[in-house]
Subunit: 146 residues, 2 copies
């Protein structure tokens, strides 16, 4: 099955770019309702205690998963591909997230307008919500990329 | 000059842990008013276009710089070291941040209570603010680390 990120050419993003060999290369799958991403944290992506996932990695996952889903939603709505950037990112950390197992992110579109989409996302570890976030994704002109 | 992070033993954090050889190892310096951190982004820490810094890296810098400063502030206020975690992280992205030069973060303590500190942070590139953030740092018992 093709991931949303497989449909974004020339993407070097550290979080979601297939072109970035040192990046996280997340993959998101959207059924039109809920967008899902499963990610296995690397041991070095830890917090102060090595058994928990680093908050910055959690923020990165929520950011890229939501923006990738917003891009897919704009694509579907408008019939053409647009690039989006993050305007605002909010993360609430609910519990420590174990590093030794995959996390699953579930994102939904709260609102989508002409230029902005408001996304909500929850991150789960073994079915338990450990973080939740909100992202405002903003469409940018192609000139942003050059 | 000793950085705040040099005073945190056994810190494996991907963002600020001296014990994490693959991490970002940020260094923060606090004069009691403003806490500063200068960081040179790595080429792979890029957004979709390779000339801009990845939003997740910016979130990570704001997160660790603020939490490290909050820990130092609790230490000073209480005369003993406490560990803090991030309760909430908000980042507003103002402009693209060039990747080919250092960024400077400046954080201040907005409020500090018994258990929580509210931090504000602005990130600059060549003196221009490119992102601003807010972090709620929460003191945790030592048992959190074990």
């Amino acid at each position: 099955m093709k991931a949303l990120q497989d449909d974004m050419p020339d993407n070097n993003c550290y979080g979601c770019g297939p072109n970035n060999p040192q990046g996280m290369q997340i993959k998101s799958y959207w059924d039109g309702e809920v967008s899902r991403c499963t990610y296995m944290p690397k041991p070095e992506q830890c917090a102060g205690p090595p058994q928990f996932v680093y908050g910055g990695t959690i923020a990165s996952l929520i950011d890229c998963h939501c923006v990738g889903t917003a891009m897919a939603a704009f694509h579907e709505k408008e019939g053409k591909r647009s690039w989006c950037v993050t305007g605002r990112l909010i993360v609430n950390y609910l519990k420590p997230t174990p590093i030794d197992r995959p996390v699953e992110l579930q994102a939904t579109i709260e609102e989508i307008g002409e230029k902005k989409a408001l996304m909500r996302c929850t991150m789960y570890s073994d079915g338990v919500a450990t973080a939740e976030g909100e992202v405002i994704a903003i469409k940018v002109p192609d000139s942003w990329r050059s």
